[in-house]
Symmetry: C2
Subunit: 244 residues, 2 copies
């Protein structure tokens, strides 16, 4: 399983992904699910992925090859809109499905995969897209400041309670990490390390990228104090008086 979150704030964007993959409980490995395409002062595009690892690695591989594309070809490096970047990712996903999908389905393997594509291309605002398994996609607009991939339900309530476009980035990062804590607590197939990236609006380059590993002091403190705080709030609430 996977858990990824991308948040679009007024001040910039936060991307986060876990890195555990599993094919059965006896085949667990660590793979980054975040890929960054950065061309200084021109574009910063982040792709988060979930689902069948062969399919998503194939998608990333197709995107990586854009480096060596022939002149005139439309690539992730020359499209002038994030909308077109999302369409390119969707097309790469369809290509992988055409190549491997039928074989996986025949073997009763789930070929499903979906991705988040976000960032900024010079001349546009920051934009955030969710690319579905069929290669179609939607954009986060207005009141929808975030998208999730994978095991999304456990970590959604805290995002809904806290994050709006005007939330300061530090607070939003804290909220994203608590959302990861809730998810990892309930689903052991989501695990550390967490890859986290902060993109400051209009900077057209990575603001900060870091990997949160087991024993990370801030995340450890956050997990313990959040759990303790929840239990404290719970204890302070009055019991129902209709029960003896």
């Amino acid at each position: 399983m996977t858990y990824c979150v991308a948040v679009r704030l007024d001040s910039g964007m936060i991307f986060a992904s876990d890195s555990r993959t599993n094919a059965g409980v006896d085949q667990i490995a660590t793979f980054s699910k975040m890929r960054v395409y950065e061309k200084n002062e021109d574009r910063l595009i982040v792709v988060l992925s979930s689902g069948n690892l062969g399919i998503t690695q194939g998608v990333i591989n197709l995107l990586d090859r854009h480096k060596n594309a022939e002149e005139g070809e439309t690539t992730i490096w020359n499209v002038d809109s994030m909308y077109d970047a999302a369409a390119i990712v969707g097309e790469a996903l369809r290509e992988m499905q055409r190549r491997d999908g039928t074989f996986l389905t025949q073997g009763n393997v789930d070929a499903g995969a979906s991705l988040i594509v976000g960032g900024q291309i010079k001349g546009e605002a920051t934009r955030l897209f969710h690319v579905y398994a069929q290669g179609n996609f939607i954009e986060a607009l207005g009141d929808t400041p975030y998208f999730q991939l994978g095991e999304s339900k456990y970590g959604k309530p805290i995002l809904d309670r806290v994050v709006t476009p005007s939330t300061p980035q530090k607070e939003a990062a804290k909220c994203v990490l608590i959302s990861f804590d809730s998810t990892m607590k309930s689903n052991i197939s989501v695990g550390l390390p967490i890859d986290m990236l902060w993109y400051p609006r209009d900077s057209l380059r990575v603001g900060l990228q870091q990997r949160i590993r087991e024993g990370d002091p801030y995340f450890t403190m956050l997990r313990s104090r959040w759990g303790g705080g929840l239990r404290r709030v719970f204890a302070e609430l009055p019991d129902p008086d209709w029960l003896e």
Copy 2:
């Protein structure tokens, strides 16, 4: 969608179910998903249901007819173990699937349904079972003090943090209601009223049964103070220092 929880405590059992059913967003109705079979000083059996409403109503209908069963027939009123009661419910579910399942599947309608069966029969301890869509079932033993049905993920983290078999009943009831709050906040197809039942161990009768409706003062207070408390705990946690 549905949300149901049943908790087995040292002191007794709590059952709770929402009552919203929907077949598309334009067909929403209120149906109780809790059925109680009570024979004073002999047995108290509670059935919670989720899934295809035609199927689960059919199951309940079959169980209700046990009232008029011929002598010698095995019914929910004369089995001497909760294990057999769970088997009867599983068998009723299979009978409904035999009757309607194929037709529903042909019409691309999800025929899935699952139930919780819990309570106590004289001579046994309290017992709690989860009956799956295929009619097989498992029992809550040892460290598993609760089962959920339906939209279970949003409301699971708080149950995991708080409820153990030794949790006092008032505290467990409070926790179950907060679990409902988290679920209803994230999934509008789970809705009030909540049917709640408290069964005190070895009493062999309903301890308390009540319906929590819109505007219920205790539940309203709980929702507002829980949300406020979460935001307070969140605000008190330090921001990450690695982000400007």
